[in-house]
Amino acid sequence: MQGVKEKALELLASGKAQRVLGWKTGEFFYDLTPGVFESAEEVEREFEYGVFAGANLSKYCIAESKKDGVTAVFLKPCDAYSFVQLLKEYKVKREKFYIVGVQCDGMCDMEKIRAAGISGATAVSEDGDTLKISTIYGEETMKKSDALLLKCKTCKSKKLVIFDELLGEQGEDCPESHRFDEVERLERLSPEERFSFWRGELSRCIRCNACRNVCPACTCETCVFDNHNLGTDNKAAASDFEENFFHIIRAFHVTSRCTDCGECSRVCPQHIPLHLLNRKFIKDTNELYGAYQAGADLESRPPLMDFRKDDCEPSVVYERGGAKG
């Protein structure tokens, strides 16, 4: 997407925004991290947008919302859902933001590029469906679709649910995202197989809390797992139980609030597919209580804070046998 950096400069120059929330290069060129820019010089020097701008900026809006003046923020479709959810929970103030909706056709994962046998990359650019990769050994190309982040492969929607200005075209929901395929696959397994799958995954957890810190739905002042007074604090993955406990409760706490932005899995240094826990809850909610997308609007009641008198009984879990049909 061209013009993101230019838009940042334009917004600062016109005074529409006092600062810009965007991306800048991190440790490595493929490691774009969120950054706040207050002057044109900073933007010129550090602002960067490209195929590695996977980071969801909406959580950073919480901090910016507390500052004076207007912050311009670039939101991709999945980030926009998170932003609306934050708005719904009063974590950000709408008038504090000038939202530039950025249409997005997926962000890339350096590890996928490496996995394709390309090493020593120094720069990556996109040309339509093709990625051009400069390496110390020369130029390489690969199909962009093969390098997409996990979350982008199963993109749920290209619709920008909130913006003041659009870069690119407004998009649509992607009903064919197949985002629940993996959940369904697991549901079809026997409980023993599922148990060993999840033990295998969760036992790698090092309790670095990256998933919690990046999650736009994890916005508590004090996380329940940091609450010493309550006796629920636990800081280290000291036993199997605590790994389970942390991830079950975290997923439960974001149920009907998680927009499925996929950041948890993107940032997990241990590559635990945490998004599957969230998607399991989303899938169950959709199936049992009707389709619901967190962050799609400001008015609807989240399913967990709502009920119908003829809701199914919890015993439905035994009947469904974990998987429907």
Binding site: K66, K91, C220, E221, T222, C223, L230
Partner: protein, 663 residues
């Protein structure tokens, strides 16, 4: 660390036979914080209680655990006893070792082990207990009655009688409700107006009662004892204080073609009107849908003829705000819309009427001056067919109601009887499915209609009514005779089902009072608390709670008034101290708790907090109104961070119990 005393009750042999109480007492003595244990045959006896009190004072106990029967039995007893000894009520925990241990187990060892564990859980909990004091909230000594029908009138009169101020809000221009439209009342056949209008006048003249007619409740805030209500007074375009009710305007108004709602559209009235002669307040109202002056500024006749100068075409709706201690819902009923029942030709023939329309046709103040005439041609009907259960007991929710409307059997008997009495030359048929006449002198009344007045009661139903050559061809079944009947009737009267007034739903929402699927208000307990809503401070009067006849309505109205008086007599209300409480430092202002609160007890405020480096931060945090909170705990689970906690059943306490049990 608490100093805990543990008292194990034998309950005679009820507990001691299966639980080794001595062992329990001895084992629990080893628990941390326990400074005293004992067992005693009857803890709840005077001596038992005295022993607890003595030990509290002697040892300076800060917590007491009593292993005895269910807390549902004696929690209050023991709390009171400890209170007398200076220990806070909420520092007492009961371990239920009778109902949930000794009575259900036979093996003494097993039961003893379980009793110890239950005792441990109670000790673990009491370790974390904190003294709680019940707060109080003041009571505004004024009641609001929503709806000014016979139910609302009776409730208001009774409350006023006890010396409290009452406001009646009625959406129609006059109070009186449905009963004003009724001709005679069963089973005594006295005239409805004759018994109702004196009560209406009493309301108007009672200094304690304030009538806001032609008004609607717009917003309700607050809670029991402290409701804050906005009432919208709709513009009458007539100054209520100045109008004398002389009626000159209603005679001179040139717009004569307005369907008369009071007579259910069977005749017409003017654009400026007084619904009926005995209206209270007796003031004129301009119907803005028909008044030429209001519609296009041409006319002004009423202003010219009004010697009092009461007409005010520029009048606007106004809103008044009032404080109340209690609210009574008396929103009443309406007959259902009969247009769904085209087999009875209700919309095709004016001679097919609803029972309420029939009341007007029989009434001396009605469109025919009390002579029963067919609406179509003004002739006297010779054959009249009454159809019962039209829309009642109907499974099809699109058309009717599944319930029995309760009053139709009796009023139909009344109608049939009155017809035969006034016009002995008429043939009267009543088609019934069942005749339901429970009530004092009710069945006698129905039998009189059959035996003395010769009304033809036929067990069966009318299948269809076809208007043909000025007659109504009625095809019906006679099940006892296994015949199909064909009657050429002059008039057909349909006993329409009754349903709650449409406004009830929005009133219930404002009051956070619950309703059933038929939109009747739900009572707090179907048998034991029939005139109270589950929402504290909201009471139910009349048909808004379920179908009722006049005597039942009046009885319930007085019952609701008694409940209101009981509440308003108190200067303050003691609140349940086991309520939710947010930790503001941890609250993240997400509003999830507010969404699940059934009482609207949670609000949010922006509050200043000290930030890092001497800065201040403004954060949105939850506030719980302890007078409104009932302590269900729904919010505590909706709160992710655990900022919201429930006093008396805190997260920590419950987890301590879990730990003690699973240990």
């Amino acid at each position: 660390m608490q100093k805990i005393g543990v008292f194990v009750c034998h309950c005679g042999t009820n507990i001691a036979a299966t639980v080794d109480v001595e062992t329990v007492a001895k084992t629990l003595g080893k628990e941390p914080g326990v400074v005293f244990t004992t067992d005693y045959p009857y803890m709840c006896s005077q001596t038992g209680q005295q022993m607890i009190q003595d030990k509290i004072q002697e040892l300076g106990l800060t917590g007491v655990v009593i292993c005895s029967c269910s807390p549902r039995m004696h929690e209050q007893t023991f709390r009171k006893a400890c209170h007398k000894a200076g220990l806070n009520d909420y520092m007492v925990e009961i371990a239920n070792i009778r109902e949930q241990c000794s009575w259900i187990h036979k093996d003494k060892q097993e039961a003893t082990e379980k009793a110890v564990i239950l005792g441990r859980a109670a000790i673990a909990k009491v370790q974390l207990n904190a003294p709680l004091t019940a707060g109080t909230s003041p009571v505004t000594k004024r009641a609001l009655v929503i709806g000014g029908g016979i139910a609302g009138i009776q409730t208001a009169l009774d409350i006023a009688e006890a010396g409290f101020e009452v406001d009646i809000v009625e959406k129609q221009p006059t109070i009186g409700g449905k009963m004003t439209q009724i001709d005679k009342t069963f089973p005594t056949l006295d005239c409805a107006a004759c018994i109702l209008t004196p009560k209406m006048v009493d309301c108007a003249q009672n200094e304690k009662i304030h009538i806001y007619a032609y008004s609607e409740v717009e917003q309700v805030g607050g809670f029991v004892g402290n409701f804050h209500v906005k009432i919208r007074r709709k513009a009458r375009f007539v100054n209520e204080d100045v109008c004398t009710g002389c009626g000159a305007c209603t005679e001179k108004c040139p717009q004569k073609k307005v369907p008369n709602a009071f007579n259910l559209g069977l005749d017409t009235r003017r654009a400026i009107y007084i619904p009926f002669a005995q209206a209270v307040p007796k003031v004129a109202t301009i119907d803005p849908d028909y008044c030429n002056m209001l519609k296009n500024g041409k006319c002004g006749v009423c202003a010219k003829v009004c010697t009092a100068g009461a007409i005010d075409y520029k009048q606007k709706d106004t809103t008044i705000e009032r404080e109340y201690g209690a609210i009574v819902a008396a929103t009443g009923f309406n007959p259902i819309d009969l247009s769904q029942f085209d087999e009875f030709a209700y919309s095709k023939s004016p001679d097919v009427v609803s029972s309420l329309e029939f009341e007007r046709l029989m009434n001396a103040a009605g469109p025919t001056g009390g002579t029963l005439l067919r609406p179509s041609d003004g002739t006297h009907p010779k054959t009249i067919v009454f159809v019962q259960c039209v829309g009642s007991r109907c499974e099809d929710a699109q058309k009717g109601k599944s319930y029995c409307s309760k009053i139709c059997c009796m009023y139909t008997a009344k109608h049939a009887m009155l017809c035969r009495e006034k016009y002995p030359d008429t043939d009267v048929y009543v088609f019934y499915i069942d005749v339901r006449t429970p009530g004092k002198n009710f069945d006698e009344f129905y039998r009189r209609a059959v035996e003395e007045y010769g009304v033809h009661y036929i067990k069966g139903m009318v299948g269809k009514v076809v208007p043909e050559n000025g007659k109504l061809k009625v095809q019906a079944s006679d099940l006892l005779d296994n015949r199909q009947l064909h009657i050429d009737a002059d008039m057909v009267v349909l006993a329409a089902a009754i349903e709650p007034d449409k406004s009830a739903r929005s009133v219930a929402t404002m009051l956070t009072a619950s309703m059933d699927t038929n939109d009747f208000f739900t009572e707090a307990h179907p048998k034991l608390r029939p005139v109270e809503s589950p929402t504290a401070g909201v009471f139910l009067s009349g048909t808004c709670q379920g179908p009722k006849d006049i005597p039942e309505t009046v009885a319930q109205a007085s019952a609701a008034a008694a409940k209101v008086i009981g509440l308003l007599c108190k200067d303050s209300l003691t609140c349940n101290p086991c309520v939710a409480e947010p930790n503001e430092l941890m609250c993240n202002g997400c509003s999830n708790c507010e969404k699940v609160c059934p009482y609207g007890a949670i609000t949010y405020i922006d509050k200043e907090f000290r930030g890092p480096n001497r800065t201040t931060l403004i954060r949105r945090v939850a506030q719980v109104n302890p007078a409104v909170c009932q302590g269900c705990g729904a919010c505590t689970v909706a709160c992710m961070s655990g900022a919201m906690d429930l006093k008396g059943f805190s997260n920590k306490q419950i987890m301590a119990e879990v730990d003690a049990i699973c240990r």
